[in-house]
C-alpha cells in the first residue's frame, strides 16, 4: 500500500480529514523548503504537495506565479527537488510527498529517468497539471512501474464519463478543482463544490481532496465537511511571500506559514 493510501486510510479510520499544504520548492530559497515541510507536518499537515517551479505556470494565479518566479531566480530544478525530498525523508518516513507541476520539466528529463529518481528520493505522487489522461499513458506506465501514485485533476467542467475514465487511471487520491479559474481565485462556492463532490462520489471510491480558493480556517472547514481532504496553496504561499518580502526568510517565515496550517488543522478537526 502506498504511503498516500495508507495515510488516507488511517485518517478515514480516525474519522479525520486530510490537511494538505502546497508550497513551491525552493521558494524563496532551497534551504527553507525542508525545515518548512517538517514544521508543517508538526502542526498537522497530513500530505505535502511540493510545487515544481516552471517558467510558464498557466494554471496559477498571481501569488503562485510569483512563487515559481522566486524559485527560478536560483534555478530550482527537479534534481534539486529530489535532493530536498531525500533530505526530508531522513527524518520523516511517514508523511506522503506529492510533486505538483507542469509537463515539460518531467518530459525533458524523460519519464523513465524521472520515475526512477523520484521514487529513489521518496516521492509518493505526481500531479501534472497540463497532462490530462488522454496524453498520460506513457508517463502513467512509468509511475505504475515504480509505484508512484498519479494524481489527476477533476474540474467543475469534467463530465461524468470523464470522471469515470480518470478514476480508472488515478491512484492515491483525486484532486478536485473547486472552481473555474486559476489557483487563489476568490470565487469559491461551497454549494457548487458539494454538488460536484456528490457527482464524483457516486462514481468512484477514491479519496478526493479539494483545492483552489481555500484560503482560511472557515473555508477549509466548510469544504472539509464534504470530502476527505483540503489543499491550501495560495494563502500559504502568500505567507511565504510576505515574510520573504520583509527579508524574514528563516524562522519567522516558517512560523508564519505553520501558524496558518495550525489554524486550519484546528478548524478541520472541530468538524
Amino acid at each position: 500500500m502506498s504511503r498516500i493510501t495508507s495515510k488516507l486510510a488511517q485518517l478515514h479510520a480516525q474519522q479525520r480529514k486530510a490537511v494538505v499544504p502546497y508550497i513551491v520548492a525552493g521558494d524563496p530559497q532551497l534551504a527553507v523548503t525542508v525545515p518548512l515541510m517538517h514544521a508543517l507536518v508538526e502542526v498537522g499537515a497530513d500530505i505535502i504537495e511540493l510545487g515544481v517551479p516552471f517558467s510558464d505556470p498557466m494554471a496559477e494565479g498571481p501569488v503562485i506565479q510569483l512563487a515559481h518566479e522566486r524559485a527560478l531566480l536560483h534555478r530550482t530544478s527537479l534534481r534539486n527537488i529530489f535532493e530536498l525530498v531525500a533530505e526530508f525523508r531522513r527524518s520523516d518516513n511517514a508523511t506522503p510527498v506529492v510533486l505538483m507541476g507542469y509537463a515539460n520539466p518531467v518530459e525533458h528529463m524523460g519519464y523513465a529517468v524521472f520515475a526512477d529518481a523520484a521514487v529513489a528520493a521518496g516521492v509518493d505522487g505526481l500531479l501534472t497539471v497540463d497532462m490530462p489522461p488522454e496524453e498520460a499513458d506513457e508517463l502513467n506506465a512509468h509511475l505504475k512501474r515504480v509505484g508512484i501514485d498519479n494524481i489527476f485533476l477533476l474540474a467543475p467542467t469534467t463530465t461524468d464519463q470523464r470522471i469515470r475514465a480518470i478514476a480508472e487511471l488515478a491512484s492515491g487520491y483525486l484532486y478536485c478543482v473547486s472552481l473555474k479559474g486559476v489557483t487563489g481565485a476568490g470565487n469559491l462556492d461551497v454549494d457548487a463544490v458539494s454538488t460536484m463532490l456528490q457527482r464524483i462520489k457516486a462514481i468512484t471510491d477514491l479519496p478526493v481532496t479539494v483545492g483552489f480558493g481555500i484560503k482560511d480556517a472557515a473555508s477549509a472547514k466548510s469544504v472539509a465537511r464534504l470530502t476527505e481532504g483540503v489543499v491550501i496553496g495560495s494563502a500559504l504561499v502568500d505567507r511565504v511571500a510576505q515574510s520573504a518580502k520583509q527579508n524574514k526568510a528563516g524562522a519567522d517565515l516558517i512560523a508564519s506559514a505553520a501558524a496558518l496550517i495550525a489554524e486550519i488543522r484546528g478548524a478541520v478537526d472541530s468538524i
Binding site: M58, E69, N104, H108, A155, T157, G181
Partner: protein, 407 residues
C-alpha cells in the same frame, strides 16, 4: 515511425483524431479546459461541413477581407538577384494588413455560431490582436487582448488601433513580458470564463483542435497561390518561402502544396542576433521537443526544461515554440527550416521597399531575406513564391529607432 518517402505520406490523415501530428500536437491543458476544447471540436466538425457556414466564411473572405489576394511577379527584384522569378503572395493587402484576418474571420464566425458573447486573444506584434478586435467590432462582441508589456511598448501603433476598435488591451507583466506570457494569461482568462468566452488563438499552435482549424482557415493562401501560379505561369512553383513564428502563414501557404513532390519548401525562423549566440527565436533550428501551451512541439528550453527567453527584432516571431505540424514536417523532411538574423531581415525590409515599392512587415522580411539567398542559386525559368504575410507600417517606429530617428 513515419515513412520518410514523401509520396507515401497521407497529409490529410494528420492530425489524427486526438490531434497528433506524429509525436507532436495533442491536448496538454488543465482539466477545466478539456470540456471547452471538446465543445469547440464538436462545433467545428459540424460547422465545417455546414454549407451555410462555409458560404458565410467565403463571402467574408471575398468582401470583407478582400480576397483573393494578388500573386505579384516582383520582376525588378528577380532581375536584380539574377536567378529565379520571384512571386509575392500579397497577404499584406488584406483588410487589417496581414494574413491573420483569414483566421480571425473563421474563428469569429465559429464564436458567433457557438453563441459566445466575448472573445479573447493573445498577440505579439499586434496583428492578430488587431484582427481579433476587428472581428469583435463587426460582430458586436466584447474583446480583450493580452499583450506582453514589452510588446505593448514596441508596437504602440497597433495597441492604439485595438483601442479604437473597442477592444481592451491588457498588458502582461509576468515572465518575459512577450507573446508566450500573453498566451499564458489568455489561457488563465479562458479557464476562468470558460462558459461564455471564445479564445481566438492566432497561430497553428495551442491544444487540438486549434492547429488544425487555424490551418484550415489559413490554407486559402496556398489554394489561391497554387491556382494563380498555374494561371500566370502555366506551372507550379519550384519553391515556397514563408517566415515561421508560430507558423500560421507558412502552414497556410505550404499545406495545399504538400503532395506536390516537386515543390521545395522553406520555413524561415527568426535568427535574432545569430543562432550561434543563443539569442534567437528559432526552436526548429536549435530547440528540442517539449510541451508548452497545450501541445508537444520543438521549444526553446534550458537543460531543466524551463522555457527560455527569445530574441527577435520582429515581435511576431518572438515566440519560443512553433506549431506542432511544423515540428512534424521538419522531422519527416518535407519542409526545410532555416533561419535569418535581425540584420539580414532589416536589409531585406529596405531592399523590397526601394526596389518594388512594397514595405513588408519585419516578420515577412525574414522570408524575403531567405529569398535573397535562394533565388540567385536557381535558374531564371524557376519560380519562387514568397509569402508577404503582412505590411510594414507597424514596424516603422522600430526601423526608425534603429536608424537613430525618433518619430
Amino acid at each position: 515511425m513515419t515513412d520518410l518517402t514523401s509520396n507515401a505520406i497521407d497529409y490529410a490523415a494528420v492530425p489524427d483524431a486526438r490531434g497528433h501530428f506524429g509525436i507532436y500536437g495533442g491536448k496538454f491543458v488543465s482539466e477545466t479546459l478539456m470540456f471547452a476544447l471538446d465543445e469547440l471540436e464538436t462545433a467545428y466538425k459540424k460547422l465545417s461541413a455546414d454549407a451555410g457556414f462555409r458560404a458565410e466564411f467565403d463571402r467574408d473572405l471575398a468582401h470583407y477581407v478582400g480576397r483573393p489576394s494578388p500573386l505579384y511577379h516582383a520582376e525588378r527584384w528577380s532581375k536584380m538577384l539574377g536567378g529565379a522569378q520571384i512571386y509575392l503572395k500579397r497577404e499584406d493587402l488584406n483588410h487589417t494588413g496581414a494574413h491573420k484576418v483569414n483566421n480571425t474571420v473563421g474563428q469569429g464566425l465559429l464564436a458567433k455560431y457557438m453563441g459566445k458573447k466575448r472573445v479573447i486573444a493573445e498577440t505579439g506584434a499586434g496583428q492578430h490582436g488587431v484582427a481579433s478586435a476587428t472581428i469583435a467590432a463587426r460582430f458586436g462582441m466584447e474583446c480583450q487582448v493580452y499583450m506582453g508589456e514589452e510588446d505593448v511598448r514596441r508596437q504602440s501603433l497597433n495597441v492604439y488601433r485595438m483601442k479604437l476598435l473597442g477592444a481592451e488591451v491588457i498588458p502582461v507583466k509576468s515572465g518575459s513580458r512577450t507573446l508566450k506570457d500573453a498566451m499564458n494569461e489568455a489561457l488563465r482568462d479562458w479557464v476562468t470564463n470558460v462558459d461564455d468566452t471564445f479564445y481566438i488563438i492566432g497561430t497553428v499552435a495551442g491544444p487540438h483542435p486549434y492547429p488544425k482549424l487555424v490551418r484550415d482557415f489559413q490554407s486559402i493562401i496556398g489554394r489561391e497561390a497554387r491556382e494563380q501560379c498555374q494561371t500566370q505561369t502555366g506551372k507550379l512553383p519550384d519553391a515556397l518561402v514563408a517566415c515561421v513564428g508560430g507558423g500560421s502563414n507558412a502552414i497556410g501557404l505550404f499545406y495545399p502544396f504538400l503532395t506536390d513532390g516537386g515543390v521545395q519548401m522553406y520555413g524561415v525562423e527568426a535568427g535574432g542576433h545569430g543562432i550561434e549566440t543563443g539569442r534567437h527565436a528559432a526552436p526548429l533550428s536549435a530547440g528540442q521537443p517539449g510541451i508548452l501551451h497545450g501541445n508537444r512541439t520543438y521549444l526553446m528550453q534550458d537543460d531543466a526544461g524551463q522555457i527560455i527567453e527569445t530574441h527577435s527584432v520582429s515581435a511576431g516571431l518572438d515566440y519560443p515554440g512553433v506549431g506542432p505540424e511544423h515540428s512534424w514536417l521538419k522531422d519527416i523532411g518535407r519542409v526545410n527550416y532555416v533561419s535569418i538574423n535581425d540584420e539580414e531581415a532589416l536589409t531585406a525590409f529596405r531592399q523590397l521597399t526601394r526596389i518594388e515599392g512594397i514595405m513588408p512587415a519585419l516578420e515577412s522580411a525574414h522570408a524575403l531575406a531567405y529569398v535573397e539567398k535562394l533565388a540567385p542559386r536557381m535558374r531564371k525559368d524557376q519560380i519562387i513564391i514568397a509569402n508577404l504575410s503582412g505590411r510594414g507600417d507597424k514596424d516603422i517606429h522600430t526601423v526608425a529607432n534603429l536608424d537613430g530617428i525618433t518619430l
